[in-house]
């Protein structure tokens, strides 16, 4: 039987792509709201930036686990 279409490469990259969706949305929301908060209250810049980075870090962790697991479960 002839193969019509073939996919080669590593499934891990697809897994990483899926893992990046949620954090991508989350980081977008965090920084969007953060910029909005800074625009509304520029004098609170330091505090807002700090909490923005904190939220960013928690959301980013999911994508990073995706990177690590893509390699860890590599057959």
């Amino acid at each position: 039987m002839s193969v019509v279409a073939e996919v080669t490469g590593n499934l891990g990259s697809i897994g990483y792509g899926l893992a990046a969706i949620g954090p991508g949305v989350g980081i977008g929301i965090i920084f969007g709201q953060g910029v909005q908060a800074i625009a509304r209250q520029p004098e609170a810049y330091g505090l807002i930036r700090q909490n923005m980075i904190l939220g960013f870090v928690f959301a980013e962790a999911l994508a990073l686990i995706g990177v690590a697991l893509a390699f860890a479960f590599q057959g």
């Binding site: 080669t8 330091g46 505090l47 700090q50 980075i53 904190l54 870090v57 980013e60 962790a61 990073l64 686990i65 990177v67 690590a68 390699f71």
Partner: protein
């Protein structure tokens, strides 16, 4: 499809496996050497800055005070408040060591952030985990510590069935695992991406120059430069974040939400 002999091979996990520098001493490879250099460099820099402190700082002391001030005002103070002086030695050492170690990823010839090997961030995260657990138990009592984690006050009673196990796993284990994975994975991914682009540039411009491949090579070289600049930012950010989360965990252990 059979791969061509001169097809581009993307770099893989082999990038992170180092042979021992001196044969026979298995543990002493490039990351271990870089870790030692980073620790020594942190000590030497701080000694040069603060060995003979002057009232009006000059030169090294100025730079040292800037870094210390940043760590204290931006990392320790927002979380620890008046306790920050007590914990500054730990947080400052962590920040400086991780910052130097990460920046080695962008220093020419060194070009390896040793935090990309999981052992190095893991040992730091385990240390923080032990410290935080010890502090929490010391300040709240063993039962009080777990009660503070599992039963945050102010929720309707039935929801504790769900909240207690989730909070226990998340606070006691997962946040410390991600604390380690975050540093490890950013450094690994950054190193991998920079290697990918620089190797692509080398492949398409030097070892296998073709009219069609040359533009790809030029793009790859430009991307290498841009991503190195981006990595510099990420490396500094990750050091900041690791120290920031350490301060946050310590504060959580000292003063649980109540």
């Amino acid at each position: 499809m059979t791969p061509l002999a001169d097809e581009f091979q993307a770099p893989g996990l082999g990038l992170f496996e180092w042979p021992p520098i001196i044969s026979g001493v298995e543990w002493f490879n490039k990351p271990a050497l870089l870790a030692l250099v980073a620790a020594l460099l942190a000590i030497v820099l701080m000694y040069a800055a603060f060995a003979r402190p002057k009232l009006v700082p000059r030169g090294m002391q100025n730079a040292g005070e800037m870094v210390y001030d940043f760590t204290k005002e931006q990392i320790a103070r927002p979380f620890l408040g008046k306790d920050s002086d007590r914990w500054m030695p730990l947080i400052f050492s962590l920040f400086l060591f991780i910052l130097l170690g990460n920046l080695f990823g962008s220093v020419i010839f060194l070009q390896y952030p040793f935090m990309a090997n999981i052992g190095y961030p893991a040992i730091l995260a385990i240390g923080v985990w032990l410290l935080v657990t010890f502090l929490g138990m010391k300040h709240n009592g063993a039962w009080g510590y777990f009660k503070g984690i599992m039963f945050p006050p102010g929720l309707p009673g039935w929801i504790y069935v769900l909240v207690a196990p989730i909070e226990l796993i998340s606070t006691f284990l997962l946040r410390h695992i991600t604390h380690c994975i975050r540093l490890f994975a950013t450094m690994m991914a950054g190193h991998l991406i920079i290697s990918l682009f620089s190797e692509a540039g080398w492949h398409f411009l030097f070892t296998n120059l073709t009219p069609l491949g040359a533009p790809v090579g030029v793009v790859a070289v430009i991307m290498t430069i841009l991503l190195t600049a981006f990595e510099l930012f990420i490396q500094a950010l990750q050091a900041y974040v690791f120290a920031l989360l350490t301060a946050m965990f310590i504060n959580d252990a000292l003063h649980p939400a109540h």
